[in-house]
Symmetry: C2
Subunit: 430 residues, 2 copies
């Protein structure tokens, strides 16, 4: 029993993702109609430049006036794939005000203003879906929000940025340095001309904020996420990692504290054992581990970006939002009832791999060990290598708080016998 | 804004899964209420034996009259975790008739009677959810039905039975034979006293039928699924697999034909390359690959069974069904509009690994090769090993239809120089 009046969709943005959304809406129109229970019609496409040829898109639908499009009043669903904060935020808000539901792929905006956008959606009784904003095609938001709705999630740990994983994978497999691997990623189209958002961890931090909020039913702002990029990771770090049976990944880690009352969210490079499933995530792929009380350990793996994978996620949301609309209902909105404290990085507890350049003379190890002990950081293993009066000391710690570790490092730097702290890397996934 | 009248849940079955469902409903009552928007109340628990002590469950709620419980008329959701065909089927049907929605973990029943149960749910405007029926805690039904609703799934390939994966993993890592590995699985509680449903592939076949139906939007009956157990897999097969850089897994494979008009579903042991992510799925874990047009390759991994993981999936469904109920709506029902043909096993195209015992004399290889050629099965590699007039021939084919391969094997058996066909194993995941 098919309703005949089509649902009208306004597409904001027709770039890498938007053009694929439009293509699939056209080529799979019959399937979409059957799955939704009504046909969906592309009612307008907002872009910045009119001149560009847009294959498969009726030029009559194309406009540069996105505002007028969302305010038309007959739009059922607005798909926002422009990206960035403005004008996306204003357009989405206007969409709700004019009665439309919204599907977005915009992690930056959701991480920064998710709460306000959810409030606007709720106020107008509309849906805001954004599966595509985290890890592209990989279903993550829906599993966290719905499949695990009866469970208690304690940890989300994953590779959520394909560009940096491509670079780190290259460094790992070829021994290349950061710059060389980045150049290759750029040449192959895996890194943008300005790779800052990826390599400095901003993109992953936005995703971590979104994931932590949904996983823990609390609000996690972008500023709450500790962020460290991967531009300082060296070929030497990879050699150290290999000696430990590890590799290095840029991880997004969201954790609930043991007592359950607070959470942390962070993005940084970390060593993980080669035996960990995340260690074998190659190239630009993404993978996310979710650990919960009842389900135990789940992993979700797939392409984390790209026009067509991201469009797959957008269209899944589009179908859901359209169905809700036909049923006169909305899906689960923001769930932030738990209202947990977001603790600062200092309270994060993990293990560390520290390389020190030290003087090669008796008593140095004892001095260094004393500093660790004074700061309550317990040492797991130490490896000492020396030649010609110079030596290096590699210390791997047991679990300790980030604050204790920082204190330790600060004190180490003040020792006469410590020439320098060559690297500090967290060790995860054990 | 919390509604105060609680939603009433009837629990049918309080065994491995049911007792965990009851436990979590009690211990996580506040979280469930917050996520649903109303409290949920355990209104009754139906079991077979009254005598048994059921920890944490109010004895006043326990009944052996499941029929009376589902017919009470005030039940909002029936959770069926009894298992088997009857009385589960009659109880679920009665639940719909008396106005309840249903959450079930019953793969056997869903695979056999899914269509009729969906019809009953639809007729009464109620929900039928069953995430727990396939791969325990791993979100699979919801991602296929909702996240990928805007995509075209072409293939589902996975390990969906933990018992058999445990046994095969043991055989692989220790060189043990089937019986020895089964005995260990039984001793450790991974295999039931009567392991038939698992080792003969019945359990996996039920899951394949459910997955294929949802993935391809068509009806796939249990009888449509080709099924071969893993009781014939030998230590020698594992040695052959290793020589090929492979291991052996019991796989459920659902595929759409190239032209898109038909599908196949099958369960059988197969060799897969060690480099394939499914090869490293250890112990009783499950993992499922989903390949679609736009999303590409996704993988879902986690515990495929166990009381608490399965309860996690049941509770996720319970939350969804309760929300729908509060919203006066239902989730997506059965989607079988595509109405595709299910092709028989003969039309499945894959690669094969065949071990033959042959006479060690000149011309045998030429004879064997001729038989393959006559049946249109192209050979990839042949390895010949001989001593004392006896020899073995290992043939790995290119892709060929199952019918052609069967014809080839039949003809090979008739050759005087072929003493026996030692093993035939499909090769997947390449
Ligand atoms: N690309 C991916 O792999 C990926 C993956 C996950 C999520 N996302 C997210 O998806 C969103 C879109 O990404 P994308 O890669 O498709 O970006 P893109 O290729 O740069 O496309 C952006 C589109 O928005 C249009 N646009 C820009 N400013 C506009 C304005 N003021 N008014 C109307 N239209 C405007 C552009 O118009 P013109 O065509 O005229 O330039 C273009 O069509 C972003 O939020 C991104 O984070 C992308
Ligand atoms: N166990 C798993 O890991 C797992 C994983 C995925 C899916 N599942 C599915 O979940 C379902 C339940 O499995 P399970 O392992 O929990 O089974 P189970 O431990 O054998 O429990 C079955 C429960 O049903 C009750 N029962 C049996 N016949 C009944 C009847 N006629 N009327 C009322 N109650 C009756 C039993 O009562 P008594 O307690 O009095 O014996 C028992 O409480 C099955 O469909 C199974 O396929 C199980």
């Amino acid at each position: 029993m098919m309703r005949t009046r089509p649902l009208k969709v306004a597409l904001l943005g027709c770039g890498v993702v938007g053009s694929e959304v439009a293509r699939i809406m056209t080529t799979h129109a019959d399937d979409l109609a059957a799955r939704i229970g009504a046909p969906v019609e592309l009612a307008g496409v907002a872009v910045r430049r009119t001149g560009k040829v847009r294959e498969g898109i009726d030029p009559a639908l194309v406009t540069t006036d996105a505002t007028a499009l969302v305010k038309r009043g007959d739009i059922d669903v607005v798909v926002e794939v422009i990206g960035g904060i403005e004008p996306a935020r204003t357009l989405i808000t206007a969409a709700f005000e004019h009665g439309a539901s919204v599907v977005s792929a915009n992690k930056a905006l959701l991480a920064q203003d998710g709460a306000a956008l959810h409030a606007a959606a709720g106020e107008h009784g509309r849906d805001l879906y954004y599966e595509a904003a985290v890890a592209g095609a990989i279903p993550l938001i829906r599993p966290l929000r719905e499949s695990l709705a009866g469970d208690k999630v304690n940890r989300v740990l994953g590779i959520v940025n394909g560009t940096t994983n491509f670079i780190l994978d290259k460094m790992d497999s070829t021994g290349a340095g950061y710059q060389e691997a980045l150049d290759e990623a750029t040449a192959l189209g895996y890194a943008e001309a300005d790779p800052t958002a990826d390599v400095e961890g901003f993109d992953a931090a936005a995703k971590a904020a979104i994931l932590a909020g949904i996983a823990f039913h609390t609000r996690v702002r972008l500023d709450d996420v500790y962020r460290e990029g991967m531009t300082e990771v060296t070929a030497a770090d990879f050699r150290s990692a290999k000696e430990m049976g590890c590799t290095i990944k840029l991880l997004a880690i969201c954790e609930r504290s043991k007592d359950g009352t607070s959470v942390t969210a962070r993005v940084h490079p970390a060593m993980i054992p080669l035996s960990h499933p995340l260690a074998s995530v190659r190239g630009a792929y993404n993978a996310v581990f979710v650990e919960s009380d009842a389900a135990g350990q789940l992993m979700f793996y797939g392409p984390g970006a790209g026009g067509s994978p991201t469009a797959s996620a957008v269209l899944g949301d589009l179908v859901a939002v359209c169905r809700n609309r036909l049923n006169g209902t909305t899906g689960p909105g923001e769930s932030a009832y738990a209202d947990l404290t977001v603790s600062p990085m200092g309270e994060v507890v993990t293990r560390y791999h520290i390389s020190l350049d030290v003087a090669d003379k008796p008593g140095v190890l004892a001095q260094v060990a004393t500093v660790f002990a004074e700061h309550g950081v317990s040492i797991d293993t130490v490896r000492q290598q020396g030649k010609d009066g110079e030596a290096s000391l590699v210390v791997v710690t047991h679990r300790a708080s980030d604050a204790s570790l920082s204190g330790t490092v600060e004190a180490l730097r003040k020792l006469d016998t410590v020439r320098g702290v060559a690297s500090i890397m967290r060790v995860e996934g054990e």
